[in-house]
C-alpha cells in the first residue's frame, strides 16, 4: 500500500519525470509563496477527484467515463476557485487564469483515468497524496530557485543580502528563467535516477 504513496514523490514525479502539468509549474513559480499556493490548490483538487472517482468507479459506464471524470474535476476546481477568491484574494490575483485551468491539468485526469478508476478508495487517496506531494515538491523547488536568484529572498524574506536584492538576476523571475530552471531540475533528476 505504501508503495502507491512513495511512488509519486520522486521516482515517478509527475512533473520532472512524467512531464505532466507543466503549464502552472512554469507560469506561477516566480516566488515560493505563489508556487506553494498553486501546489496546495492542485493537491486539493486531486484528492477530491481521486476520492470521488474511486467511490463511483463501479457505477460509471466505460464509454462515458471521460466526460464524467471531467465534470467531477471541474466541480472541485470551482470549489477551490471560489474558496481561494474568498479567503486568499491576493494569492488568487497572482495565480489568475491558472486556477480555473487546473481542470485541464493533465496530472489530475491522468490519475483519475489510470489509477482512481481501477483501485480502491484508500489506495486512491494514497496515490493522490503521493502524486500531489511530488507536484508540490517540483513547483516548490522551481519557486525556491527562481525567487532566490531573481529576488534574493525565500518566501519574501531577504537572505542573500541587501545589495543582491537590489540587483538580482532579474532574468530568473521573467518567463525565460522558468524554462532554464526546469531544464536544470529535469537534468539533475535524470542524473540521479540513472545512478
Amino acid at each position: 500500500m505504501m508503495r502507491y504513496f512513495i511512488n509519486g514523490i520522486l521516482r515517478e514525479n509527475p512533473v520532472l519525470v512524467l512531464m505532466l502539468g507543466l503549464c502552472p509549474v512554469l507560469a506561477v513559480s516566480g516566488s515560493l509563496r505563489d508556487a506553494l499556493g498553486m501546489g496546495v490548490a492542485a493537491i486539493c483538487v486531486l484528492f477530491g477527484s481521486n476520492l470521488v472517482i474511486s467511490l463511483i468507479r463501479k457505477g460509471v459506464p466505460p464509454q462515458l467515463r471521460i466526460p464524467i471524470f471531467i465534470i467531477v474535476i471541474s466541480t472541485f476546481v470551482t470549489i477551490i476557485d471560489y474558496t481561494m477568491q474568498a479567503y486568499q484574494p491576493e494569492l488568487y490575483q497572482m495565480l489568475g487564469v491558472f486556477v480555473p485551468l487546473i481542470v485541464v491539468n493533465c496530472i489530475i485526469l491522468a490519475r483519475a483515468e489510470a489509477f482512481a478508476s481501477k483501485h480502491s478508495v484508500f489506495a486512491s487517496i494514497l496515490d493522490a497524496l503521493g502524486i500531489g506531494i511530488g507536484f508540490i515538491l517540483a513547483i516548490g523547488a522551481m519557486g525556491f530557485f527562481r525567487e532566490l536568484l531573481g529576488n534574493g529572498s525565500v518566501g519574501g524574506k531577504i537572505i542573500l543580502g541587501q545589495s543582491f536584492h537590489q540587483n538580482p538576476v532579474l532574468f530568473m523571475v521573467l518567463p525565460p528563467g522558468a524554462f532554464l530552471v526546469i531544464a536544470f531540475l529535469m537534468a539533475a533528476m535524470r542524473k540521479w535516477r540513472s545512478q
Binding site: M19, L20, L22, P100, V104, A178, A183
Partner: protein, 198 residues
Amino acid sequence: MEESMNLFLIFLSAFLVNNIILIRFIGLCPYFGVSRRLSTALGMGMAVVFVMVVSSWISWMVYHWALVPNGLVYLRTASFIVVIASLVQFLEMFLRRNFSHLYTALGIYLPLITTNCAILGVAFLNIDYGHSFIETTLFSIGTAFGFTLVISLIAALRERLDLAPIPESFKGNPIAFITASLMALAFLGFVGLFGLSI
C-alpha cells in the same frame, strides 16, 4: 481609426508580446509533445487556429448570453470545458462529412486539441479581460498565430538538436527547455513595441 488601432494592438499583443507559449505558459503539452517535426507542428497549428477562434466565439456567447443573465457565473469552468469538448467532437464530424479535404489535413490533431489547455485558457482570458465579440475574435486569432509560430520554430530547431552533441542528462526534453528559454528571452524583446507590456 482609434478603434481599428486598438484592435490591431490586441492582435499584436496576443501574437508576439504576450505569446501564449513562451510568455504566458499555456499549452505547453503539445509544444513538447508534437514539436518534433516541422510538418506535424504546422498541422497542429492549423487545427488550433481553427478551433481556438470557434471555441472562443461559442464560449463568449455562452458566458454573456446564457450564464450572466441567469446568474450562473459559477458554472463557468464546467460549462466551458463541456462546450469545448463537444465542439471538437462536432467539428470533427462536420469536417469529415462536408470538408473531407480539410479533415484529412487536420485529422489526428483535432481530438488532441480537446486536452489542449490553450483553447480553454484563451476562452477564460477573453472573459477576464472583458473583451467584446470583435476583440475576442482578434485576440484568439493572434494567440493561435503566436502558438503556430512558436511551435513551428521549436520543431525546426529540434530537428537540428537531434544531431547535436549534448551531455547525456540534457538529451531530449531538458535541452528543448533551454532552447525555449533562449527563445523566450528573444520574445521579451517585443515588449515595448508600440508601448505594449506583458
